[in-house]
């Protein structure tokens, strides 16, 4: 659990320091330009959850998206930056396609109606879940709103991000594409 907190605060794990330095060196030598986000080592498993959709219906679990890169977004209707993040995330998902990437949002409003009213204003096409007992934000040790976690196809947290501004979308796109490139076969996990 401390590892998630360290990831949120941007502290690299000790084991990854040497690797990060090597990566930085390689990136510096081989590549030029372009937005880039440093992905964490695949060492912290994303806590599992199974939650009902905000609109009601069957429970959706994180495990269902194994094999895809998942952007797990915690939001609430009262959160100012979410007015920008939701439409931009929806556009990113439409651009990349949802066969290898999925945005999964967890609404943390007190009542589902508040989230639904927000979605009527800012509709999205990705799954939006509702966590009534507010257990997932505790499991993921949220530090602020909105908070997001980029989870790779194997279920490891590779990036933790607090807050949102429009400029964040470019490094996020780069990170998603980087992760997709690492696991090019869609649904590889389901074959096992």
């Amino acid at each position: 659990m401390k590892q998630i907190q360290a990831m949120i605060q941007g502290k690299p794990c000790r084991r990854s320091v040497m690797r990060a330095m090597l990566e930085l060196l390689l990136v510096g030598v081989l590549l030029a330009g372009g937005p880039r986000t440093t992905l964490a080592e695949a060492s912290v498993m994303a806590p599992m959850f199974s939650l009902p959709a905000l609109q009601g219906g069957e429970a959706v679990s994180l495990e269902q998206f194994r094999g895809k890169v998942v952007y797990l977004d915690f939001w609430a209707s009262w959160c100012g930056p979410c007015r920008q993040s939701l439409p931009m995330l929806d556009a990113l998902r439409a651009e990349i396609g949802n066969d290898r990437f999925e945005v999964v949002a967890i609404n943390l409003d007190e009542k589902p109606e508040q989230g639904l009213a927000f979605l009527a204003q800012f509709p999205v096409r990705y799954p939006v879940l509702f966590d009534a007992p507010k257990q997932t934000p505790r499991d993921y040790q949220l530090q602020g709103m909105p908070s997001a976690f980029l989870i790779d196809a194997q279920g490891y947290i590779r990036l933790a991000h607090t807050g949102f501004k429009p400029a964040d979308i470019e490094p996020l796109r780069a990170a998603v594409l980087q992760l997709i490139a690492t696991h090019p076969t869609p649904g590889a996990q389901h074959a096992n």
Partner: protein
């Protein structure tokens, strides 16, 4: 007699200083662990309401402040440092 009086005084002094230390510890314990509880980020919906802000309407606040310092003939009279010289 003097020594006994002295020792009684010393005991009282120690007791009072002990009480002060105890009170300080209790107060700090109240402040740190018992009374102040951090609101988790996902429970800040009420705090995020516009009426909870210092200045719910920034435009109106700027206008009010402008009128205030114009009347007072001071720069930053409402909240900023300095002012009072009428040299804005």
């Amino acid at each position: 007699m003097r020594t006994r009086l002295q020792s009684v005084k010393n005991t009282r002094r120690w007791r009072s200083s002990g009480l002060v230390i105890l009170a300080t510890l209790l107060l700090s314990a109240c402040g740190d662990w018992a009374l102040i509880e951090q609101v988790p980020p996902w429970e800040r919906g009420q705090l995020a309401r516009p009426e909870m802000a210092w200045d719910p309407d920034p435009m109106q606040a700027a206008l009010r402040q402008h009128i205030y310092f114009s009347k007072e003939a001071t720069a930053g009279a409402a909240s900023a440092g300095g002012g009072g010289c009428g040299c804005n």
